[in-house]
Assembly symmetry: C2
Homo-oligomer: 189 residues x 2
């Protein structure tokens, strides 16, 4: 719980009473590996703060193959922003790739917090745009790098994560095939 508050404080100030308000709304959830926190076509009415485990945001092509857009791990919010914000169907899936635990806020509670806490809304605008801008930069950088550089960069940027996610999902995140990733890993140690 303290981690959530610490995370939020990076983006704005909250007094004691406000922190209590927030924590009072949080519900403890467990999601089993393989289950979805959000599904394409459905409206996301929950936002989660991951306290344990890893999710991936992914989509499927017509052949049924899945592709990972990015991973969400401990001490980060997990949500389909546009679905949650605008109440429109989600465009992607959010899949637990390990057993996960999170603190969950419903959309209604979230809106109530906006009314109770001045700056709560702005705080979330800051967080989502900060995260989004960063992801765009990282992805755009990957586009002009070869497969090995992308992988090394991933190791650098997300230490330890490569050992916690299935390599085929990491491969689709990096935009390469599992075999290529395997060969690249062999040449690194």
């Amino acid at each position: 719980m303290e981690e959530l508050i610490a995370y939020l404080l990076q983006f704005g100030y909250l007094n004691f009473q406000q922190r209590e308000l927030i924590l009072a709304k949080a519900k403890h959830w467990r999601i089993a590996k393989g289950a979805y926190f959000a599904e394409a076509g459905k409206i996301s009415t929950q936002i989660g703060y991951v306290t344990d485990g890893i999710f991936r945001v992914c989509y499927y092509d017509k052949q049924g193959d899945s592709f990972t857009r990015y991973f969400v791990y401990e001490n980060r919010f997990v949500v389909d922003v546009s679905s949650f914000r605008d109440e429109i169907p989600s465009a992607e899936y959010i899949e637990a790739i390990t057993d996960c635990q999170l603190l969950v806020f419903s959309r209604e509670d979230f809106i109530q917090l906006s009314a109770l806490i001045p700056g709560w809304h702005d705080m979330f605008v800051k967080i989502t745009s900060y995260v989004l801008e960063n992801k765009l930069k990282v992805t755009s950088n990957m586009l002009v790098q070869d497969a090995q550089k992308r992988y090394l960069n991933f190791l650098d940027h997300y230490p330890g994560l490569a050992n916690r996610v299935p390599l085929n999902m990491l491969a689709s995140y990096l935009g390469i095939t599992p075999s290529s990733l395997s060969r690249i890993r062999k040449n690194i140690p």
Copy 2:
């Protein structure tokens, strides 16, 4: 000028008086081909609405080679969002790749409009997050496609644009070399 209003109305309502307020703040600028609207390391104090021409958002690596993150053309806002919003140094360059015309708002005028027009701030949050989410999806999709698909997708998504931008800049946007792009184009017609 009407185009700016029409664009804004996609994201929220503005009455006649509010429209006048906005247009009164807009300054007409011309930027010559090759000049920068924003530069890495400097704080962006202006936001522009492109009425004519094309910009590219780009960065340089240590070797001095430039890479295009994306293009900004007519009837779109051009700005380094985080620099403009948070008054921090810009991370990238915004270069006019044709002679350009824009409607420019200074940061101060922009803030004044927030005070005068309820919903102005929210409108910009909507626009920037909408644009950003879209760009992330497009870029992430490119990552798992081969060079030819990326190019065809670009033709589809931005009709006519490929004929208006230098192909070496388009190549770096697509994450391929100019020679590869040239060969791909030869095999398409």
